[in-house]
Amino acid sequence: MGLFDKLAFSLGLKKREANILVVGLDNAGKSTVLNHFKPEDQRTSDVVPTVGYNVEKFKTKSVGLTAFDMSGQARYRNLWEAYYQDCQGIIFVVDSSERLRLVVAKEELDIMLEHPLIKPRRLPILFLANKMDLRDAISSVKVSAALGLDRLTDKPWHITACNAVTGDGLHEGIDWLSQMIKDAVDKNAQKL
């Protein structure tokens, strides 16, 4: 990072850029979450199941984020690992109303955390316990217990209950994630 960039950052002229990966099972609400961060006029009213992946760009207070919205369908889940290399943060979306497949979500999370590109890195992971408005939904505490997050000690993580349709709880989560990313980027910049 050059001197000019440092100057630009400190003056707040240039924003930090980061890639984040949005994963989770099919029908968890990943695309809906990202749809909410789009500008008002670009939002789609009906979100369809993602095929392969989509890329969305949006800005938060501190960083500009490029989100890779991965498809959660079983046959596309092995695509996730192709994007582990250059991501600075992960959003893991869980459908908290679907108790039957919480175990599958945990399985996919465990596979991801054991991946050699993820395991040694201190990547911040944001868990979104989505669909909290539904009658069958369980609390974010129960979701975190079901996913076994208490065992996840080597990475910063945060769980928040949210409703991706209305946007409740999303900003709290994304603020945390962007703060973590900003800190990490700044730390890297100081090292250089």
């Binding site: 099972l25 029908n27 079983a74 108790r99 039957l100 497949r101 919480l102 175990v103 399985e107 596979i111």
Partner: protein
């Protein structure tokens, strides 16, 4: 086996865990040991009942068998609705009966002589099986009883004799119940209660299945296929509920396996109560016998071109569609049910076998590829898409528990060759053609069989006689290393040491008698003096105490110019006796000549 020959697994990088230990191929999604379900595989179905992409589980719960029978619908892990059933359910299936949008599947519950159709989980239609002809004698008897021309005991007598004549199933249910009444008073009460109603003879549904009518699509209209207690198989039209086709069988259908299209061509494989399996085709009125089993079937599953049948004698059989037996595997325990596991993402079709010893074995052809251990014996199994997960395995326990397992995304099923029969057993032996000589010999053997047998027997007796004679001679001349005479029971063993030309012969003598010692014995070595020069050819043996081994040894020099080996005779003799006590013959080794 043609199309289902095993392909080796494409290496996915995942390690395959050996079978035998508990399976790690499945995730436990839900386990409710107190769900209180009492059901069988035929009474479970999976369908998208509200057309929202989420598949629900439909279970006809038998309750206690007489009370509390319910049609339960599970949405995910939650029980979402319950409908009371009037009679014991025998089967539940879901099917599309029309093409109106949205395409909601209907649920058909077979119960007694009726098929109850539910749409949107509301009662929609009730189909009644056609009534059967009542035996005229039975009809008259009940008519007379109604008009008080016949008293109770007389009616009982008539019906009882009729029962012996036509069998229990030939009677109406009313007569059957009447004959079950234990005493005169209850019979009288039963008669008073029922004599006013019309006598009908109805049959009962024993098995239910679906058959697509004209198109093979997932949401195409299906006909219902019913097996009845009157040993018929009916095919029902799904719109008008009329009987399109009726086939009679020699026995009552227990399990149905249907494939094909009603309008094009179809096969219905029926496992019957008499232990036979029949095949029905389009356009036939009588079932074709396909398989005769040694025992009653407890499960029937069709996979590609094979039919899997589990029987009560703990066997799992695999047959071709034509009824040719491909293999049979015996289980360690009684089989309770059978289910087909179709994993589309892996292009695999496995067969799950639930055993009474709480295990569920998963077979890929005849190899066990996975074992699931449950806490209780399994009474019903269903595999399919549930909720939003494709590979869900639903198990209902004997104690009423509900267990839902989901297949891991990275699970692979590889056959372990060490279990079961190897592929070599399946290959045929390459038998050469019969030659003329072979045929001639066979003919000769066939014609002269008695004579050949006699010649053989004659030679055999001669051989035996010769053997016995030689044995007796050996005993008489004491030319054996163990003496069996009462006076001198001795045992001799000899050893040759060295490489030659000088050998040492060690002879060990032992008195095997209980108490009497042997006196005045000598060991004599005898050999051809052209070949061997024995140093001490006669050795005196001191008194032999019973049980103690005495060793005598001598040097033997090979003096032969040619370096040939010969035998050395060792004789044990007693003073003043002309016959040796025992004899041993030592084959000497070839001497290493000193060059």
């Amino acid at each position: 086996m043609s199309s289902d020959v095993l392909r080796p697994e494409e290496g996915g990088g995942e390690s395959v865990v050996a079978t035998g230990q508990d399976s790690d191929k499945w995730l436990t999604a839900h386990n409710d040991p107190v769900a209180g379900l009492n059901t069988f595989s035929s009474c479970m179905a999976l369908a998208d009942l509200s057309a929202d992409g989420e598949i629900k589980l439909i279970i006809a719960d038998l309750g206690s068998g007489t009370h509390n029978m319910k049609l339960k619908v599970y949405k995910g892990t939650q029980l979402s609705s319950e409908n009371t059933l009037i009679d014991m359910p025998t089967g539940v299936i879901t099917f599309h009966m029309d093409t109106t949008e949205p395409q909601l599947p209907a649920v058909a519950v077979a119960s007694g002589s009726y098929i109850y159709i539910y749409k949107n989980l509301r009662p929609y239609f009730k189909f009644t099986l056609p009534t059967l002809e009542v035996n005229p004698l039975e009809y008259d008897a009940w008519n007379q009883a109604r008009d008080d021309l016949l008293d109770v005991s007389l009616l009982y007598e008539i019906l009882d004799s009729l029962r012996h004549e036509v069998g229990e199933c030939g009677l109406t249910t009313r007569s059957q119940r009447f004959l079950m009444c234990p005493d005169h008073q209850s019979q009288q009460n039963f008669l008073d209660q029922h004599k006013g109603f019309l006598l009908k003879r109805q049959t009962v549904v024993t098995a239910i299945a679906t058959l697509k009518k004209s198109y093979a699509e997932e949401e195409a209209i299906s006909c219902l296929v019913l097996g009845t207690e009157s040993a018929n198989v009916f095919i029902l039209d799904p719109e008008a509920f009329t009987i399109l086709n009726s086939v009679s069988l020699p026995s009552v259908a227990v399990f149905l396996s249907v494939f094909g299209l009603y309008d094009v061509e179809y096969r219905i494989i029926v496992a019957c109560r008499n232990g036979h399996v029949y095949t029905l085709k389009r356009g036939v009125k009588v079932g074709r016998p396909t398989i005769e089993l040694n025992s009653q079937a407890v499960g029937l599953v069709r996979r590609d071109k094979n039919i899997f049948v589990a029987t009560m004698d703990r066997n799992l059989h695999c047959f071709s569609n034509k009824g040719k037996r491909l293999w049979t595997q015996q289980m360690d325990s009684v089989i309770s049910c059978l289910e087909l596991i179709e994993i589309k993402s892996l292009n695999l079709r496995l067969v799950a076998v639930a055993l009474e010893d709480r295990r569920v074995l998963i077979f890929k052809d005849k190899y066990v590829v996975d074992t699931i251990h449950m806490e209780a014996p399994v009474s019903a199994m269903l595999f399919g898409r549930f909720g939003r997960e494709d590979n869900t395995f639903i198990l209902v326990m004997k104690g009423g528990g509900l267990h839902i397992k989901i297949l891991r995304r990275k699970a692979r099923f590889a056959a372990d060759d060490s279990s079961g029969l190897g592929p070599a057993a399946a290959t045929r032996l390459n038998v050469p053609k019969k030659t003329k000589l072979f045929v001639d010999q066979t003919m000769r053997e066939r014609e002269n069989s008695i004579q050949m047998h006699r010649v053989f027997q004659h030679d055999l007796y001669k051989l035996r006689l010769n053997t016995a004679r030689q044995y007796v001679r050996a005993l008489e001349t004491s030319s054996n290393p163990v003496s069996i005479t009462q006076t001198e029971p001795l045992k001799l063993s000899a050893q040759v040491l060295g490489l030659g030309p000088t050998f040492k012969i060690k002879v060990e003598l032992q008195n095997t008698s209980a108490s009497s010692p042997s006196l005045g014995l000598m060991v004599v070595f005898h050999a051809d003096h052209h070949v061997y020069n024995v140093q001490n050819s006669v050795i005196q043996v001191p008194m032999l105490v019973p049980g103690v081994a005495h060793v005598v040894e001598t040097l033997v020099n090979n003096v032969s110019e040619l370096g040939v080996a010969d035998t050395v005779k060792v004789l044990v003799v007693k003073e003043n006796s002309t016959r040796p006590v025992l004899t041993a013959l030592i084959s000497m080794p070839v001497a290493d000549t000193v060059s």
